[in-house]
Amino acid sequence: MSQELMMDLPDINRRRLLKGVGIATGLALTIGINDLVRAAVAEPAKKYGGDAMPGGLKEDVLVFVSIGSDGIVNIVAHRSEMGQGVRTSLPLVIADEMEADWARVRVVQAEANEAKYGNQNTDGSRSMRHHFEPMRRIGATARMMLETAAAAKWGVPRNEVRARNHQVVHQPSGKTLGYGELAVAAAKFPVPVRDNLKLKSAAEFRYIGKQNTRNVDGQKIVTGTTHYGIDTQLKGMLHAVIARPPVLGGKVKSFDASAALKVPGVLKVLELKSSSLLPPLFHPLGGIAVLASNTWAAIKGREALKIVWDHGANAVYDSQTYRKILEAAARKPAKVVRNHGDAAGVLARDGKKFVAEYYQPHIAHGTMEPPAATAQIVNGKCEAWACVQDPQAALDAVAAHLGFKPVNVRVNVTLLGGGFGRKSKPDYVVEAALLSQAMKGKPVKVTWTREDDLHHDYFHTVSLEHMECALDAKGMPTAWLHRTTAPTIASTFVANAKGGAPFELGMGAVNIPFNIPHMRVESPEVQAHTRIGWFRSVSNIPHAFAVQSFVAELAHNAKRDHRDYLLELLGPARKVNPDSIEDGWNYGESPQRYPLDVGRMRHVVELVTSKAGWGRKLPKGHGLGLAFCYSFVTYIAAVVEVVVGEDGEISIPRVDIAVDCGPQVNPDRIRSQAEGACIMGASLTLTGEISFKNGAAQQSNFHEYQVLRIDEAPREIHVHMVEHALDVPLGGVGEPVTPTIAPAICNAIFAATGKRIRTLPIRDQLKA
């Protein structure tokens, strides 16, 4: 999201400017109609989807596909693999369209180069959504060039040949030519223009939408022979760990390295300048680096350092105090970010109000592979190997920090041992590059320990969601007020930014299509004191926790079944233009292609409740909870079954999830993403918390920052996919399930026990 964010920020100003003009009619009249028409024609069409991303979409077949004389088809994967299966799924689309045999396809990982490959920033659940169609066109182009080459070789009409499973067949004679035999000739034919491309029909797909695909990294994963960012080994490489300022904006006052230098294997201790200036961006945090002949020596050396820190202004950050700051801000009128009707007036007048507040603390990504990167500098050129979600951002940040031209930096993308948004921020790659520069270009690997990872994450934001409703006699809302209060991700990019950014508010706060006459959303401004980043599904998490819990509370208050109440709130099936809702941010997608489809929302709710046996009789201590979410242009609903024991112990025997992400390319990977996001959602619900004291994160390792283990995880997860033809555009897959889990669990707990959870994580709240 980083680069998209960069573009969004000026966009906020532009929108404000337009709104600031206010009643523009007078102005328009003075300009005159002709001028307006000319201006409208001259204004370039607003770009959406992959076209609007930095680097855009590139569809050069000669960049993405090469064929060896041995017939092996090499396909470039230009997005980063972190478990979502993208190194398999995107090349698979090309392979299918070009009629390549998947067993004879080799996947080549692209280095950072958006000018060549198009956008590579692998987050925002965008890879398949933005690149499915370009990949199809690339594959079709390759197929048609191979067919043309075969027809020319045989001297037969073009329409008599057909590519089929890695060879071209001359249909009248049955003659065949393998792709290896055609490769050289095919590359000499002109690339067909886009309008002349003939894509396969869905019925002709051999891999897209099928279950038969070998994961390109599977064999290497189970034999331990893959290359993650932490696995780079270079001759003469130094291993570094860094003691970073515990508080954001802090710096080294003084340090004594004498004991560290006595640790066997420690070769050098040096200071990395702290970037105490805001905003944090992707700058390294600075601190003291210990370089050694192996990681263990570097860790021991760091333990022996004596450092006096100047903690700086953020040393005030204390999570207990901060919750009170959030509560105070959330209980006062604030900047209005959506206002349909007169919710404020109705709420002020109406006696019967329902009010609730929901709190979620910071959470850390906790990727199993902590951040790690290796860099060396040879002849004025830096080469890095790193587990990065956003390779181009890593390259640009390294170049800027080294004072190199970008052309003199190369970033090789390894596998990522988990990403979840953390590895979009390449501060650790910059650290490796700066240390290599300080060591005269020697290769240096920086490894973050788990403690480093949990102390210095770009944290998922802490939040306080204040909800108010005025209710009619039947307990249905007539007015809705949501004050969403959280330090903003924008503060990582713009010094002291406050208040929700459009892309945060558009994740399930302003764009709730409930059928309520008076809707108002406000965004109080609060200061960030740590680096705020995006975490799998981002602001959807706190928003869905609040909105979906609140609706369940309203349903209970109205003595109604939650499902029926929710469907009534959603109202009839209809397509809502996101632009008709205040800001209109819709994951960067076109409002025409991606309307808010209430019919699809209703359908996932109906599907999941039917599959989960909603309303079935349950044993004592069991409960079912429901939640839905529109996240990354995908529609999700989940039903969780919980069991709460006599002692307050929670277990989750079953989760049902309905997923409507449009057409499916790699169905098994969609299911696995749903399963994984479900368990990550359960983790943040039950135990996920990073708290701050004196400005520093308090949790250091997995004993304090607990994540779910196999014995605590939902025992059964049933994923129910909604089928679509290709006329529906693709939705996101990696992120959307996460936000539904917390409210569904809390609603299930309420059903089981009558206890309402409004503060995450649950931890031992039921044990009191």
């Binding site: 994963i221 189970v222 192996n294 995880a713």
Partner: protein, 153 residues
Amino acid sequence: MVLLEINGQSRQLEVPNDMPLLWAIRDVAQLTGTKFGCGMALCGACTVHLDNEPVRACVTPVSAAVGKKITTVEAVGEDKVGQAVQRAWLELGVAQCGYCQAGQIMSATALLRATPNPTDEEIDEAMSGNICRCGTYPRIRAAIKLVAKGGTK
């Protein structure tokens, strides 16, 4: 200097006695299949076998491995059970990012060698020391059961 037997090969490694086996394997023997995750035996990513018993290499000093057979994920497939586990993992598409799976496979192999047909409780007991942040637990459980049934292709 320490003499270790890793995956059937004798390796003379120039490491101090108290260096955790993990770093001797990864940085010095340069076998990177065994992963670092926590350094405190909390996550299981570094699980290897010492004389067929699973241990967390991040807290096991190399001195404790002297004279024992060290097996890492790179060689676990030479064992029949290990190979069946790897096949089941592939068949059910267990791995997502794959980073923790070396440790998961080592723990699962040790479990299935000792207990060829484990109950859910035995799976919980043997596998709850291995964290997977991608959330592959349901498939890990299913893959272990697949091996138990002898069902891999």
